[in-house]
């Protein structure tokens, strides 16, 4: 293989020595063999053997790739990808307006970011999605399990019980209306205990734990192959306070984003992140923008910004590879995320059963 030595994933010190000794391509390294290599550049035989192993893996990975491509090499024609996408399901949110602007729901194999001010409903949406991913296929869901990584401690099991009970009831109503055999069979396994037992919950207290958890996630996902949703509630929280070195933060966040994309792609899961908002102070005005900086904006494939308009909650699709920018209104009831129905607008202040630590918004406070 004519692969240059500089492009191989070896340690920098080793690479420098190889360059000084005059090795240019991987083929030369393989020809020399471990004894010759250790003599020429002055490293031990074990190190030379290890380095040659890495080189051989890279080069044989190149050569062994078949022309048609396979899952491990991630090479496809656009036609194959189109067929795959059309057969892929979406994770619905039970708010049909939101599903519409997202193109059917939260997409698998992509990273979706939900940004919003405190109290607007980000954690509610995450909990709703963790329940909705488990809807059986005959009802239009993806029949998967969920991983919930919590950094802020805002996951309330009682609330998930409410949402899950409403979802099960909804499915029962559909089954009664349609009277089909597979609906009834699916409903036997789709119960409250089942839903709760398939949400895998992790609590990470600082950024090191979060990074470690994401690093170990591929192993976990290969054991639990039915997982179709990974939620990280509060990716901004561990990175925003007590971080002195901002360039380290950018580096870590970008590395994290790449790892999450690999997870989303390899395991066909949707990754949902929630982000906080920060104020950017311009010359004449200040605007609310998503936190973690400009470069983080490129990490997510789909970006949804939730905000208030007087007492109405709105969701804006800010960035998507296939849908247009648009804004819709939604509503959070005791059953979870729902569409806005006109008579229900007046209930919006009391119907918001958010976490008890968030103050309910009232008319006077907004003025």
């Amino acid at each position: 293989m004519q692969r240059e030595v500089d492009t191989l994933p070896l340690a920098p010190a080793l690479r420098a020595r190889l360059a000084a000794a005059g090795f240019q391509t991987a083929q030369e390294l393989l020809d020399t063999g471990p004894c010759g290599l250790s003599k020429e550049i002055g490293i031990s035989r074990e190190e030379a053997l290890e380095a040659l192993q890495v080189v051989r893996q890279e080069c044989h990975g190149d050569a062994a790739r078949p022309a048609g491509g396979s899952g491990a090499t991630r090479k496809y024609t656009a036609l194959e990808l189109l067929e795959e996408e059309q057969s892929q399901g979406f994770i619905i949110t039970f708010c049909s307006a939101l599903d519409n602007i997202l193109g059917g729901g939260v997409q698998l194999t992509k990273i979706t970011e939900i940004c919003g001010a405190p109290g607007v409903g980000k954690t509610q949406l995450c909990m709703q999605l963790a329940v909705d991913v488990q809807i059986p296929e005959c009802f239009g869901g993806v029949a998967g399990e969920a991983v919930f990584i919590d950094t802020e401690g805002s996951f309330m099991v009682d609330r998930v019980v409410d949402i899950a009970a409403a979802c099960v009831q909804h499915c029962h109503l559909i089954a009664e209306a349609q009277q089909e055999e597979d609906h009834r069979k699916a409903l036997e396994t789709f119960s409250l205990e089942n839903i709760l037992s398939h949400i895998y919950y992790f609590r990470c207290r600082d950024y090191t734990e979060l990074l470690a958890q994401v690093y170990l996630l591929p192993e976990f996902l290969s054991e639990h192959s039915k997982v179709r949703l990974v939620v990280i509630d509060g990716i901004a929280f561990p990175f925003r306070h007590d971080f002195e070195d901002l360039s380290l933060r950018t580096r870590l966040l970008n590395g994290l984003a790449q790892q999450l994309i690999i997870i989303a792609n390899d395991h066909k899961a949707a990754v949902v992140l929630t982000n906080q908002m920060t104020t950017r102070i311009g010359q004449s005005q200040s605007t609310l923008v998503p936190a973690l900086g400009e470069s983080w904006g490129h990490a997510a494939t789909v970006r949804l910004i939730l905000h208030w308009d007087n007492s109405q909650r709105l969701a804006t699709l800010y960035k998507s590879p296939s849908q247009k920018e648009s804004t819709i209104a939604y509503h959070i009831t005791s059953h979870g995320f729902r569409d806005v129905q006109l008579p229900a607008v007046t209930h919006s202040t009391e119907g918001t059963e958010l976490n008890p630590r968030k103050r309910p918004r009232t008319e006077e406070e907004k003025q």
């Binding site: 004519q2 360059a19 005059g22 990975g61 048609g68 024609t77 790449q258 490129h298 960035k319 590879p321």
Partner: protein, 323 residues
């Protein structure tokens, strides 16, 4: 700095190499720059053999000068200009994407870089019937959106062609063929990207025509996603890998007459608060043309302005519709 090895050229045997090494001549440079009469005496090798070896080594390892007229003729015959499918973007790029060069599209999140690259891929595959390689490092490639764009472009062509019989089936077949000509490789870190480029180079140099066909364009979306995790801090290998990547892209473009399109992010300048392209000064020398995409509030229009070009004056702005 290539080490002398047996078999590097016909006259070079293992014994010769051992003798040369004993006298301190290890690399090609040492050999070519040494006094051959001296070497012949010290190593007791034949002078004629050494001169023959040196001639072969020079032919293999040195660069030959070419005069400007020959270079011009060669460029005229090998460079092609690929239209991007959007007339205003073509106007900005001086009638299209030039093969043999690296073009960069940069913009803030949501400004339309992936959309424009999908549009370019669709136009080259459908309109010019050339193969396209799309390297996706962000997971933003959506085949259904590409299909939508192909459908929109086929409708335009149909109006111009005005065929009557079997129009629907013909356009569907055209779209399917266009989709098959676009190959997508998902690379999520720098080493995967480099090995994908290496594989491309091997395929092109062996001229395997069967499955790939005439490849004319390589799109990389985005380059900053794979390089950002490596830059910064006290490690300098990130910069070295970035330069290695840029060399690989430029030599691919030049040697095989490809048009390489790269998308890049923008970051905020900490002192002035203005937006500037990511990856810093070193990367800014790599693409020969840079286009900045900016979004306008609440519409599908985007403003594209030329930030760097070898042919046009910078600062030209056009409007693009990515709807």
């Amino acid at each position: 700095m290539v080490v002398l090895r047996a078999g590097l050229c016909p006259g070079l045997t293992e014994d010769m190499i051992q003798l040369l090494r004993a006298n301190g001549i290890r690399t090609v440079v040492d050999f070519v720059s040494s006094d051959l009469e001296d070497v012949a005496q010290k190593c007791s090798l034949s002078y004629k053999a050494l001169v023959a070896v040196r001639r072969v080594l020079l032919a293999q390892f040195s660069a030959f000068p070419a005069n400007g007229a020959d270079l011009y003729e060669e460029l005229k015959s090998s460079t092609a200009i690929l239209p991007t499918g959007s007339p205003s973007l073509d106007q900005l790029l001086d009638s299209g994407l030039y093969t043999g060069e690296v073009t960069e599209l940069m913009g803030a999140p949501g400004s339309g870089k992936t959309q424009v690259s999908l549009g370019i891929a669709a136009s080259v595959s459908l309109g010019l019937k050339q193969h396209v390689l799309f390297l996706d490092s962000t997971g933003g490639f959506t085949a259904s959106r590409l299909y939508q764009m192909l459908q929109a472009q086929t409708e335009d062509e149909e109006e111009q062609a005005r065929q009557v019989l079997g129009r629907l089936r013909l356009s569907f077949v055209l779209q399917l063929e266009a989709l098959q000509r676009i190959q997508v490789v998902r690379v999520f870190n720098i080493y995967e990207l480099l090995s994908a480029l290496q594989e491309l180079r091997d395929r092109l140099s062996q001229q395997v025509v069967s499955s790939t066909g005439p490849l004319k364009m390589v799109l990389l979306d985005s380059v900053s996603a794979v390089i950002y995790p490596l830059l910064g801090g006290r490690q300098s290998e990130g910069l070295a890998l970035m330069m290695q990547l840029s060399r690989e892209l430029k030599t691919l473009a030049r040697e095989f007459s490809l048009a390489v399109v790269v998308t890049n992010q923008v970051t905020r300048d900490s002192s002035t608060g203005a937006l500037k392209p990511a990856l810093g000064r070193s990367w800014s020398f790599v693409p020969s043309t840079r286009v900045l995409l900016e979004s306008k509030e609440g519409s599908t229009q985007r403003a594209a302005s030329l930030a760097k070009s070898p042919r046009q004056p910078t600062g030209i702005q056009v409007e693009l519709d990515i709807g």
